[in-house]
Structure formats: C-alpha cells, structure tokens
Symmetry: none
Subunit: 197 residues, 2 copies
Amino acid sequence: MDQPPPQRRRTPDPGAGEVGERVRALRRQRGFSLSHLARLAGVGKATLSGLENGTRNPTLETLYAITAQLGVPLTAVLSGPAHEPVVRGAAVTATLLEVFTEAEATFELYRMRVAPGPGQLSPAHQPGVTEHVTVFSGVLRAGPADAPSTATTGGHLRWVSDVPHSYAALGDEEVQATLLLRYPGRTRLFPNLDGSA
Amino acid sequence: MDQPPPQRRRTPDPGAGEVGERVRALRRQRGFSLSHLARLAGVGKATLSGLENGTRNPTLETLYAITAQLGVPLTAVLSGPAHEPVVRGAAVTATLLEVFTEAEATFELYRMRVAPGPGQLSPAHQPGVTEHVTVFSGVLRAGPADAPSTATTGGHLRWVSDVPHSYAALGDEEVQATLLLRYPGRTRLFPNLDGSA
DNA sequence: ATCCGCTGTTCCGTAAACGGAACGGCGACC
DNA sequence: GGTCGCCGTTCCGTTTACGGAACAGCGGAT
C-alpha cells in the first residue's frame, strides 16, 4: 500500500526561534522599532513580526534584506556552530574567529570560555608568541604557569607564551573572553583554517 | 502625500546563485547525486534542483536540511568570509567579526584599524554600552571625548560609551586593535534592581 | 477629555517555495 | 534489440511565506 507521507519533519531544528531572538536583539540595540526596520528592509511588518517570534520560516532573501539593514552579516543571526571549537581541554574551549596575516606577524583571534573548577595547563608555544586575553565575563587567572595573573570583567592579560601557561576560572562563573595569539612571522597554528576559500 | 511605489526590490542580492553553486560543489565533492541528497535531506528533487540552479529562493529550513546532510554549517554555503567594513570614518575602519548573544548582554566583536593622523569622534551609544579595546599594533588614544586614555601594543582600554568618544592613532603607525562592544541584553523597561551581575 | 502617531500583532489575498510525479536522457544488463 | 535503474529537469497541485491592511494598546500633544 501507499505509504503515508514519509515524515515531513527534517531535523531537530536549526534554532528557528534563536534566529528570531537574535534579530530582535540586534534591532533593539539599534533602537529600531519593528515597523521601522520592516520599512527599511522593504519587508512586511507581518513578515518581520513572524520571523522574530519564530512562527515563520524565512527565505534567504528576506533574512538577508533584514540583516543588511542591521549592518550585520547573515551569519551573525544564524544559530548553531558556525565555528566549531578548535581547542578543547578540561576547562578551556576556544573557537577561532579570525586570522589576520600582517607583514610582521600573524594574529589569531579566538573566543574563549573557561569553565569553573580546576584550571588547565597548556604547553609552551613557539618562541616569540604572545597571548592577549580580554575578559568580558567572570574572573580569569591565567599566564605563565609559574606566575599567573588575575583579571576580572573588562580586564586584560598579556604574556609571552613560549613557556607552559595556565588558565583557570576563579569563582563559580564561567569566564568569557577573547584570546589574541600573536605569532612572529607567518607560521600558523592551524594552516588549513584560514578560510580563504 | 501617498507613499511612492513601494520599491519591491531590496538589495543587490546576497549571491543567490552563489549559494546554489556552493551546494552543488559540496554535493559533487561527496559523490552524491541530486536525487540522493534530496532524499537524504527530506526535500523534493525539484527544490534542490531549483536551489542549485539559482531559480529558487530557499527558506532557512530547506537550506539547513541540505547543508546538514552535507556535513557543513549553514554559513559554509552563504556568501563566504567576505567581511565588509561596517563602520567607516575618517580614521576608523571596523569590521564586525562576531556577535555573541548571552543571557545578560550581547557582544559585538570588531576588528578595528585606526589610520594615523587626526582622530575621529563617535557619538554616544545607548546607556549601558561599554567598549573594550585591545591594541595589538601601534599606539591608540581613545575613550570618552573629555578623558581619553592611551594604550600601546598589548594594552587595553575600557570605557562606558554612552557619551561621545574619540579614537586617534598616535605616531605614524596604523593602529590595529580589536573592539568589543557590550550591550546590556534584554532591553529592560526598568533597570535591574537586584544588583547581581 | 479627544485625537494623533506609533508600537507590535493578526487577518487575508497573492505569489512562490514546497514535495511528488512525470519527463527525456543515459549507461548497464539481459 | 528491449528493459531496467538512476540521473537531473520540468510540470503541477498544495502549502506557506509574502506584503498590505486592519487591529488593539499606549504615550504625547492639543
């Protein structure tokens, strides 16, 4: 016999609601009303309302029209692991955001999260490598293993990481931070991740 | 007077055709036939065919179902790593790298370059917005217009940017930095009274 | 008080993206 | 030769995302 329609459901969900939440957050940040943004983007208010509330499944064109007026790339509102963690340890999870190749040095910018609890020790990098950490949430104790420093929200740490170094979150809160690695010359930690497809 | 004809056209196009080309390339890489991928993803062959040929404007759900079966994030098929500057002024050029949406706040991470010469003044942001700048090349003088601070390579600046603020590169060298903007998360009608966080 | 103007939601007809089926084309096997 | 299976495209009816209009709620001006 004919099968009934074979389960139109597809995937757990890309986070349909999350996209709407991000759009709404970005819109509010800019002080735009829903009506205003809809007019700017050339889409109906019903469309934007439904999108923000997760009751519609927008087309690429619609979503692009909106994010363009918000001044963000499409990828900024898409949920999910746009970038997969490239460094994962007991406490530290880092995601490569960007690679800057300059004349004198190469920079790798990571978003880093450090879970509360015992810290994590990382081996030495190549000579001349420096790390710059900007904490924007939580309290981080990090630096050379024999002389770490502490930074809280808004704080900044910097050290030469050609020696073993440690990361640890103080307190109960997960640490959110950005990590900037500076390599002299042009050697890269992850040569195949430059995304210059 | 009446609205002018409502200009149904939106934007130059995010590269509708490009998305299709990338999907097709990824599919062929994996040795999948169109029919096979359509079946895997649970979408109609007509849908996938039209998408690859650029004659359809897919919904997020459709595109996600397909990219998931290709084993790539949605962003892999969207207009690539083309980050265009989103802020441009006399001295400052900034590129939005990432948006982090947290429970209490939203963060926008920029890569910023400040050209040597006269600085640039930026208007106040909304209340509660803070800026965190990490300098990794050059000498930057920035902060509230009436009380800027100076940071050199490896330095860090932080200020509340609900007042006009300025950026200027000291010396002849262009300043390279990362800029983290922190927006208080949900726009609350009443300020938080609990004082936590 | 009434009126605005604006917010965001909901209703509704239209346009189009959707899945399924049918199509022509091609290679393998009988 | 015919037949099968799969390829990718096209046709077609259904579903739904779309924009416009109407709606209730609210703050400010008169």
